[in-house]
C-alpha cells in the first residue's frame, strides 16, 4: 500500500468514526422536533448514496429514484398497515422488493444511454402516482395507508420506545433507527465501491467500450448497479414511510426524484464523502429559504432556486469536488516528501 493510499484511508476511517460519535451524542442537544428533522436527513442520506452508486459511479443518470423509494415505502406500508407485520422486518424486505424492481428495470435500461435513460426513469416517477391511485385495492388509492397506531408499528407512532434498556421518544427512536441503517449501508457501500466492483463501475462510467474490451461484463454490472441503487432507495423509502407514519401517492412526488438528484450533485458524484451535504441541503435549504427570506407564496421557491443555482455554479463537481481540489496540493506534497 502506498503511503498516499494509507493517508487517505486513515483520514476516511477517522472521519467515519468522528461522524458516528457525533451522531450518537447529537440528540442530547437536539429537541424532539429537530431529532425528527435529522432523521429525515438520514433517510435522504441513504437515498442519495443509492443514487450515487448508479449516477456517480456507473454514470447512468436516474431522474426517477423517488419511484424506487415509493416501492420501498409502499412495501412497508402494506405489510405493516394491512398485514400487521413488525415494521423492522419490512425494512430489508422493502429494500429487496425495490432492488428487484431495479434489476427488472435495469435490463431494458441497458438499451438506453445518457439522457434517454434519464427521461425513461423520469417517466416511471411521473407515471407511478397515477398507477398507485388506480390500483387502490392494494395501495388505498388517494386515501393511502395509515401506519399510526398499527400493532406492528414500533411505539405505534406516539408511545415511548424501549430499546436496549433505553427509553426513547418516538422521534429519537426514528433518529437512531435511520442513522444506524445509514451507517451500516455506508460501510457496505464503502467496502463494495472501494473494491473490485467499484472499480468495475467506474470503468463503465469512464468508457463503456474500454471496459468491455478489458473483459467487463457490461450488462451484468450495469444491471447490478441498478439493483443495488434501487435497494438503497427502497430502504430509504421504507424508513420514509415509518417517519411520516403514513403513505399516499403524494408522499413520493416527482419533485422528490429531482431533489435526490440535486442532493447527489451537490454532494459530488462518484464519492461517498460529501453525501451529508446533499442530504442537509434537501432537508434544510427549503426551510431556511422560507424562514429567512420571505414567506410570501412563491418567494421561498425563488430563494431556493437562486441558492441552488449559485451553489451549482460555484461547485460544479459538488462538495467532494471542492474537497479533492483543496486537498490535492497537500497530499501531493506528502507523497513527494516520501519519495525524496
Amino acid at each position: 500500500m502506498t503511503r498516499r493510499r494509507a493517508i487517505t484511508l486513515g483520514a476516511q476511517a477517522g472521519a467515519f468514526l468522528v461522524a458516528v460519535a457525533l451522531l450518537t451524542v447529537l440528540p442530547h442537544w437536539l429537541g424532539d422536533f429537530r431529532a425528527s428533522q435529522v432523521a429525515y436527513v438520514g433517510i435522504y442520506f441513504i437515498a442519495i448514496m443509492g443514487l450515487n452508486i448508479l449516477t456517480g459511479y456507473t454514470g447512468q443518470i436516474s431522474l426517477g429514484h423517488g419511484a424506487f423509494m415509493a416501492i420501498g415505502g409502499y412495501t412497508t406500508a402494506i405489510m405493516v398497515g394491512h398485514h400487521n407485520v413488525r415494521d423492522l422486518w419490512t425494512i430489508p424486505l422493502a429494500g429487496l422488493v425495490a432492488g428487484g424492481a431495479g434489476l427488472l428495470f435495469g435490463v431494458p435500461a441497458l438499451r438506453l444511454s445518457g439522457l434517454y435513460l434519464a427521461l425513461a426513469t423520469f417517466a416511471i416517477a411521473v407515471a407511478l402516482p397515477a398507477v398507485l391511485k388506480k390500483f387502490d385495492h392494494f395501495t388505498g388509492g388517494t386515501q393511502g395507508i395509515q401506519l399510526f397506531g398499527r400493532p406492528g408499528f414500533t411505539g405505534k407512532g406516539y408511545e415511548n420506545v424501549h430499546v436496549l434498556g433505553q427509553t426513547l421518544t418516538f422521534n429519537n427512536w426514528l433518529y437512531y433507527l435511520t442513522w444506524t441503517v445509514a451507517a451500516v449501508l455506508f460501510l457496505i457501500a464503502w467496502l463494495v465501491l472501494g473494491g473490485r466492483m467499484g472499480r468495475t463501475f467506474r470503468a463503465i462510467r469512464d468508457s463503456e467500450i474500454a471496459a468491455t474490451s478489458s473483459g467487463v461484463n457490461l450488462p451484468l454490472y450495469k444491471t447490478l448497479a441498478f439493483g443495488l441503487s434501487a435497494f438503497y432507495a427502497g430502504v430509504a423509502g421504507s424508513l420514509f414511510a415509518l417517519a411520516t407514519t403514513f403513505v399516499n401517492p403524494d408522499t413520493f412526488p416527482i419533485i422528490l426524484s429531482l431533489y435526490l438528484l440535486i442532493g447527489a450533485v451537490i454532494s459530488g458524484l462518484g464519492s461517498l464523502w460529501g453525501i451529508a451535504a446533499g442530504a442537509l441541503f434537501i432537508q434544510y435549504v427549503p426551510d431556511l429559504a422560507s424562514k429567512y427570506v420571505s414567506k410570501a407564496p412563491g418567494a421561498p421557491s425563488v430563494a431556493y432556486a437562486v441558492i441552488l443555482i449559485i451553489v451549482v455554479l460555484l461547485l460544479p463537481f459538488g462538495l467532494t469536488g471542492l474537497i479533492r481540489k483543496s486537498a490535492r496540493p497537500l497530499t501531493d506534497r506528502l507523497f513527494r516528501g516520501h519519495n525524496q
Binding site: 445518457g114 434517454y116 434519464a118 467500450i209 438528484l261 447527489a264 458524484l269 432556486a305 455554479l313 460544479p316
Partner: protein, 300 residues
C-alpha cells in the same frame, strides 16, 4: 344524414382537437429538441419559461395592448429572455457534466414557478384566445375554429423555423454549431452566440405553446407542468435529435391520447399520462433513439 354517421363525426372531431393539443405539445417538444441539439441537455425549465411569458402577455393585454401586439411583443421578450438565460446560467457550466446542467434547469424551473406565484398569485386566470370558440360545420362535422387556429399557428411557426434553418446563413451557422462546434469555430462561426440564439428560439416556441394552451386550460403558474411532460414524451417518441420527429411525435401523441381517453373507458383521463409514458418506453426499447433519431456511431 352526414357521411359516416355520428360516430364518424365524433371521431373526426376528436382527431382535430387532438391535432390542436398535439400541435401545442409539438411546439414545446421542438423547443426541447432545439436546445438538446445545441447544448446536449434537456431544458426542464422550458415549460415554465413559456408559462412566465404567457403571464407577461396577459399583463400586456390587461394594460390595453391589442391581442396580436401583445402576442408578438411577448415572443420578442421570450427570445431575449432565452438568450439571457443561456448567457448567465448555462454558459458557465458548459463544460461541466450533463447532470450539472440538468440541475441548473431544474433550479430555473423551481425559480420561475415561484416567481410567477410571487408576482401574479396562484389563482387561475382566463386568457383570451385569438380565435373564436364557435364551430364551423364541414359535411356534418363540427370543427372548433380555435382548434383549427391553434393547428395553423403551430404549423406556421414550425414552417418559419424550417425556412430559417434551411435557407438563411444564420440558420446554417446555428446548425453547424450544433453539429460540430470545433469545426464551426475554425471556419468563423461564433459558436457561443449560436447556442444562445438557439436558447432564444426555443424560448419563443415555449412562449408560443404557452399562449396557445392558456385559453384551453386557464393560466396559472402550474399550467405547463402537464404540457412539459407530454412534450418530453413527444420529443422522446420522435427522437431527441430530430426536429421533425418532435413535431410528428407531438401530433401523434395529441391525437392518440385524445382517442384513447375517449374510447377506452378503463384508461379515461386518470391513466392518460402513464399510458403515454408506457408507449414511449416501449418505443424506446425497440428503437432507443426514437422514431426519427439517428443512431450515432462513435469512434473509439
Amino acid at each position: 344524414m352526414e357521411p359516416g354517421g355520428p360516430l364518424m363525426a365524433n371521431f373526426l372531431q376528436q382527431v382535430v382537437s387532438g391535432l390542436a393539443t398535439g400541435g401545442i405539445y409539438g411546439s414545446l417538444a421542438l423547443a426541447l429538441v432545439l436546445i438538446y441539439r445545441a447544448t446536449r441537455v434537456i431544458n426542464f425549465a422550458q415549460g415554465e419559461m413559456g408559462m412566465f411569458a404567457t403571464f407577461i402577455a396577459l399583463w400586456l393585454i390587461e394594460s390595453g395592448w391589442p391581442y396580436w401586439g401583445a402576442f408578438f411583443a411577448t415572443l420578442a421578450i421570450a427570445f431575449v429572455g432565452g438568450v439571457v438565460v443561456e448567457r448567465v446560467v448555462i454558459r458557465p457550466v458548459e463544460r461541466a457534466p450533463a447532470v450539472t446542467v440538468v440541475i441548473i434547469t431544474i433550479g430555473l424551473l423551481i425559480g420561475l414557478n415561484g416567481a410567477a406565484f410571487w408576482i401574479w398569485g396562484g389563482e387561475t386566470r382566463a386568457f383570451p384566445s385569438a380565435f373564436s370558440t364557435r364551430a364551423i360545420h364541414v359535411g356534418g362535422v363540427a370543427f372548433s375554429i380555435q382548434d383549427l387556429g391553434v393547428i395553423g399557428v403551430s404549423l406556421a411557426a414550425v414552417g418559419l423555423l424550417y425556412v430559417f434553418f434551411r435557407f438563411t446563413k444564420l440558420g446554417l451557422g446555428l446548425r453547424a454549431a450544433a453539429l460540430n462546434p470545433e469545426a464551426s469555430r475554425l471556419v468563423g462561426v461564433r459558436v457561443g452566440w449560436m447556442l444562445a440564439l438557439g436558447w432564444g428560439f426555443a424560448s419563443v416556441l415555449g412562449a408560443l405553446s404557452g399562449m396557445m394552451v392558456a385559453p384551453l386550460v386557464f393560466l396559472d403558474p402550474n399550467m405547463m407542468r402537464a404540457v412539459l411532460l407530454y412534450a418530453l414524451a413527444a420529443a422522446i417518441l420522435g427522437g431527441l435529435d430530430s426536429p421533425i420527429g418532435a413535431v410528428v411525435g407531438g401530433l401523434v401523441l395529441g391525437v392518440g391520447l385524445n382517442l384513447i381517453s375517449t374510447y377506452v373507458d378503463f384508461i379515461g383521463d386518470q391513466l392518460k399520462l402513464p399510458v403515454a409514458f408506457a408507449v414511449i418506453l416501449a418505443v424506446l426499447l425497440v428503437k432507443p433513439t426514437g422514431l426519427f433519431g439517428r443512431t450515432t456511431v462513435r469512434r473509439v
